[in-house]
Subunit: 273 residues, 2 copies
């Protein structure tokens, strides 16, 4: 079921700027026990993104109402919120008066192999690079063609996720996740100042680890440093954490730091709004 | 008027991947005397783009039929063709069986100030960088948010176009045009191997200049080299060529090489299909 500007329909005006130019943002929110998980963080990212892009929208209550309307009767699932700059303007140049458009939809939770979580996954190295653009880095914009390209490089039955690097060979993220490496009991994750999406689960893990006294480095992460880590894991709002047990013929342990983070997330995720 | 998969409608299925991920391409084609200008070149770029992205579509005759249907009765105008990967797939990963979707629409020609052509334009330097991604560079994909951002930086009444650089400060293109510099009677234009859109008019100008015995360099173009050129102009399929007469407080002449190219284009454009 889909709500476009609050109305139940499957039909989007064909002149929407989200289609024409990727002129918009989206959030993918997990529904657990009928409630949207980490709602406040998703909203903070979305509305901050609107400010960066100059899209005038800030009605969090409206989005929550529509989310709950769609989630009603569902124990679990995903709510996807797309927010576009709407219709109008002259070419790339937007019309300041055109109102934003919201497309809110409910989807079933993907039926992920429980082994991904319990045993770990094989990680593919994608050749498609992540786009570098400091003006858009961090935002979950609708311009995601590089992720579409990257996912076509590998079979999901063989690799549960693919790793994407920037043109200079630095590790940035997974095709649909953020990545962490563990080295000497410290947590490393790529800075996303020039490329990548700043994931909600990534933020939660960084915050939780720091609160627990762990050292966390958000910085440039070279490919060799990544490969030689003691532990590697990927994360996002829907799948949580998946340990990596194989990358480029190197075998990793589903190690103690990763397991500790997974366990703590399980019991304490409700503390993080 | 809009044709979606051949049917006259303004309603796009809301699950189209063009909206969700910018997963598609587009062409903006000028209608002159009722005919689509440089049709073959637009089709070549579009269908080559489909091959790169893995979008299965190659029905040029179908697109021509729909273009002529919409252009009928119009002396001049613009036909915009959007080709998306259609609906379906699981997240970023496309479903190989989902057919491409085409959205073909007619628009009036923009009423550009004739002075832009006859006297020249002022060019703004945008702070928004062009995205760097060698896997997508050259293609006219639907992921154009950086151009939307860049055009919001300047007023159209003051500057007819804005210049975009890559993160390393190399000149790449205008927000909706390609750029050329003239130095010592040679033509310079940025290589688009890692960023930018390979424009149809850019190709025509390069080809025409070479045929006329001119030296043309497609290579990295630093900002200082660009600024210190004798002449500068921008071009695209709709506006043709606009000489630049001011950029960052430097005054340029609507010089002889630019004027020669403009004159030749006028009389010989029909030779280039």
């Amino acid at each position: 079921m889909i709500l476009i500007d609050g109305k139940q329909t499957n039909e989007l005006p064909a002149d929407d700027r989200g289609l024409a130019y990727g002129d918009g943002l989206f959030e993918t929110i997990k529904i657990t026990n009928g409630r949207p998980l980490l709602w406040r963080r998703h909203m903070r990212r979305l509305l901050q993104g609107c400010q960066v892009l100059g899209i005038e929208y800030d009605d969090e209550a409206q989005l929550l109402q529509e989310t709950l309307q769609l989630a009603e009767g569902h124990e679990h699932g995903i709510i996807k919120i797309i927010l576009t700059r709407g219709s109008g303007g002259r070419g790339y140049r937007p019309d300041a008066r055109c109102p934003a458009r919201r497309i809110v939809s409910y989807h079933a939770l993907p039926d992920y192999d429980v082994g991904h979580r319990q045993q770990g996954i094989r990680l593919f190295r994608c050749a498609t690079p992540v786009s570098v653009n400091s003006a858009l880095a961090g935002l979950k914009t609708l311009c995601r063609l590089e992720q579409v390209m990257a996912q076509q490089e590998f079979e999901e039955s063989e690799f549960a996720e693919g790793l994407m690097l920037d043109p200079d060979g630095r590790v940035i993220e997974g095709t649909r996740s953020n990545v962490f490496a563990v080295k000497d009991d410290e947590l490393l994750t790529p800075t996303l100042k020039s490329a990548g999406i700043k994931g909600i689960m990534r933020d939660v893990i960084i915050e939780m680890a720091k609160n627990d006294g762990m050292t966390v480095h958000e910085r440039e992460l070279g490919h060799e440093e990544f490969r030689s880590a003691n532990e590697i894991f990927v994360c996002n709002s829907i799948l949580g954490v998946w340990p990596v047990i194989e990358y480029q013929n190197t075998i990793y342990q589903r190690g103690p730091v990763t397991v500790d983070i997974m366990n703590k997330l399980e019991t304490r995720l409700s503390e993080y709004e």
